[in-house]
Symmetry: C2
Subunit: 602 residues, 2 copies
Amino acid sequence: MKRTDYCGVLCESDLGRTVTVAGWISAKRDMGGVIFLDLRDREGILQVVCDARNLTQTDFHTAEGLKNETVAIMSGMIRERDEETYNPKLATGTIELAADSLEVLSEAGTLPFQLDDSNNVREELRLRYRFLDLRRPEMLRNLRFRHRVARVVEDYLDREGFLSVETPMLTKSTPEGARDYLVPSRVHPGEFYALPQSPQIFKQLLMVGGIDKYYQFARCFRDEDLRADRQPEFTQVDMELSFVDQEDILLHLERLFKHIMKETMGLDFPAPFPRITWQEAMDRYGSDKPDLRFGLPIVDVSDIAAKCGFSVFSQAARSGGCVRALNVKGKADFTRGEIEALTDKALGYGAKGMAWIAVRQDGELYSVLTKYFSKDDMDALLERVEAAPGDFILFCADGLPTVRRTLGGLRLDLAGMLSLRRKGDFCFLIVTDFPQFEYSEEEGRYVATHHPFTMPYPEDVQYLCSEPGRVRAQAYDVVLNGVELGSGSMRIHRPDIQEKMFEALGFSEAETKERFGFLVDAFRYGTPPHGGFAFGLDRLVMLLLGARSLREVVAFPKLGDASCPLTGAPGMVDPSQLEALGLHIQMPASRRTRRHRLICEE
Amino acid sequence: MKRTDYCGVLCESDLGRTVTVAGWISAKRDMGGVIFLDLRDREGILQVVCDARNLTQTDFHTAEGLKNETVAIMSGMIRERDEETYNPKLATGTIELAADSLEVLSEAGTLPFQLDDSNNVREELRLRYRFLDLRRPEMLRNLRFRHRVARVVEDYLDREGFLSVETPMLTKSTPEGARDYLVPSRVHPGEFYALPQSPQIFKQLLMVGGIDKYYQFARCFRDEDLRADRQPEFTQVDMELSFVDQEDILLHLERLFKHIMKETMGLDFPAPFPRITWQEAMDRYGSDKPDLRFGLPIVDVSDIAAKCGFSVFSQAARSGGCVRALNVKGKADFTRGEIEALTDKALGYGAKGMAWIAVRQDGELYSVLTKYFSKDDMDALLERVEAAPGDFILFCADGLPTVRRTLGGLRLDLAGMLSLRRKGDFCFLIVTDFPQFEYSEEEGRYVATHHPFTMPYPEDVQYLCSEPGRVRAQAYDVVLNGVELGSGSMRIHRPDIQEKMFEALGFSEAETKERFGFLVDAFRYGTPPHGGFAFGLDRLVMLLLGARSLREVVAFPKLGDASCPLTGAPGMVDPSQLEALGLHIQMPASRRTRRHRLICEE
């Protein structure tokens, strides 16, 4: 017997056809002389009727013995079901196969978990038996959707003249800021390759080489502690363009994401996408990746608060900090408990407290603040935050970073409390003008916000070494629903600026030469202005599907400790392999056997 | 100024348009008040005329100072060239840009080699400055062609219902027979991931998971000594299908390769492709990947030779060896020197000598063999090899492996000597029925010819452990012009056969469980019959382009010692990185600094 059709695509136009289908037994109902089977394949489920009168005794006996998830192949005619047994939940719900022969291809033993109950199954067990987990319609749908998104992206980039070029995985460390995975060399013992954190340097070299428009579905590796939306390896849609400016790239990105949304979700998006500078995003939403599915903007009231008698406010406003507010519309009736919960969260974000005003329906203010404000100032304050009867206004007064973090955090918490995020809403946002550097307390120096190849705005180049904090980068993120989908920048294409950049980052000349000498060198042979972008394919797919974790859209993901419960990777290797690499395991015995099962932050 | 058009695509329909183009200065001819530039971008070259009368003094001065490979942008009107200056070698040879402004975007220093002379440049230098090497039209063409082939393959597989699924790179050792690249784990010190030699196990698990038809452009890694058609990392087009038999897969492959040839080369190929069993390929061509662009089949004459008086022949034929011949049509006039050269080659392949017969134009035989054969036997011999006046027949008598190797080798040598391979000829061949096992003298045991997951023919399963040498595998190769493009097989989907297979390979039960337990386990939960195929994308592209090495079709290849002259990878790492991994470099000081520059076998 040989399969002629997929189960799930048979339909009424196949009535009367003799077909052979194959798949997994998904359910069995034994009615005595008649056995009803649900046979499942990639395309769906078909009901198969095994009637003792139409089958040989052997075949009927086989049907009686079928267990769930056994693989079988069966032939027969497609016929209409009795109308009262129509199943509207199935695409094939009006038809069935009247089997006249069947054969078991592979038996199934007792399953470690029931497929239709796997939401209640420990994730580690699901991943250990991923080959079973993948049989769930939801997982199959996720993988198919991922395939579709990838094809849509690739078709689009191909049509737009981008050339896909593959870059090496066995390469050299690049400064993405995360830990590299290393690969020991056998031919050069004592030396190591690094797995790429991104193809950044290679794609820039491709621009130097005249490729003009490049893309790649690039596997990238970061040896970091994991969380729900990170995996040690992930796939990045990586792009680079020559002879463009930032605006050209942003237009490309808008067209690309509009196209993806149209082709995979059937959603029309207006371009341009909303744009916001990093500064404004931090001020209005307390985040560089604001979720714009809801409003709740942060409002600065420092100037008004500076004049009030409430010392927490006035001191913050006068000593270089600020006072900012969120107007929670219509929530003057927050209970004492709710307000306390919000205050606790504010304290958790590092604020020293949370002041608030409830504007009663009759306009009366309920707040400890009223006595500290003149009537005029209070009116100005309420006007500034656009307060109306029924609103609840909360305040944070502190240094700028704390205020941003607190109100940015409360804004998201409130969205959760008040269910402000509607499922199926997709809000794109482009954030521009990131700072070139961030000060790293840990390293005691400025580090690159994006990466050291990012071009500053021309007017800010002069401050690279003298006032790094004020340099704005030609860098941009695309944010979807409060998640950073990807980021990009115009790149430095001049060796003098690149060298100054490394200097600003505190790299010695020798270090620059050793690590990036070949790149700076390349810039001396005619380099076009260029820039690019990269976004996480898995992350995009996860957001579009509304999945709760990257592990729902990756076929064989790792757990939080970067281990694979299915294969058992990583594992021990043969001492001779290490010897060939000139390596020796050296560590305290206590570390040697421990398996750290880090809890995933979810 | 902002680019409006690519240089290379402008044509006569653009006459009169004002455009802005950007690219690299490819040539400059200074004629006094007029400077002719060749400006090159990804799409080709455009002549630009800088006339002192049409440019500002500054711009003209800039034009005078332009050096080759400087990047510049320039605007002006497209006009027709004077007819006597038409350049038929350029697509844009009848037009030119009359520049009215120009700007240098990036200066080029003195180049390490001239781009148009790079065939004479040491390959290591070309790879060190790959970003310059890529600017050569040939390299750009190769990368574009590779992109096109990849897109054609992917579109085809997508249309045929294959789902692309990405499988992990940080995984566990699989038994492809080559050395693994290892990746030390930081979270689990002392443990290692292996980079995949192929996604073999994962694609089989996807079949167990019901994906039904899978493909992936999979990066694969093998830590082997390199040669011209190998790289430590390479891209494999990987496929797997469920509920199919070998014939289904071969039909898929024929359609796929026909499609590729049509879409990328414009060549129509008849299907079916010629097919041959491994046995027949070895007997007729002395190779499991015969080049069928020419004939020169090997003919067995053992039965006739057994009766002759020439003891080398008769003994070989009677003691389990054989006597086989190649008829080199029309080459009775081989010179003594040519015959000696062939004999030397035969000795090099391990033969003890090379007997031959030259059939003169008048039918007279010139050979030491004549006196050892009866007239009837000689007639039978000549008839068997289809000898005609003017032919040269050469013989090898020895054990079967030596005869196959010698005549197979001589067949290829003769094709070289006689220029039998025509450029632009493409001969596909499908080789089937590979032996399941080969005996490894080195390991003193049978090893899998393909891999341990290959399904034997059902009638041969019984011999797995008792007579491994006679088991034929359901394995097949696609060969193009004597090069193995890729290979595949039906897979074992029954745990009992898989276990027997591991037993036949001499794996202990514990070893099987440790290394492949999860796969054998998976087969216990309902596994469809499945099989697949994988072919080297770079290798296919290389063959279609007639390129001499994989390094001509890979953007950033490694040298023969797996090093990258561009980035310097592999390299030393910081001791703290090793400490985090629990590793220590331990080897004789003499090995520590040596850089093995293995000579590439070309």
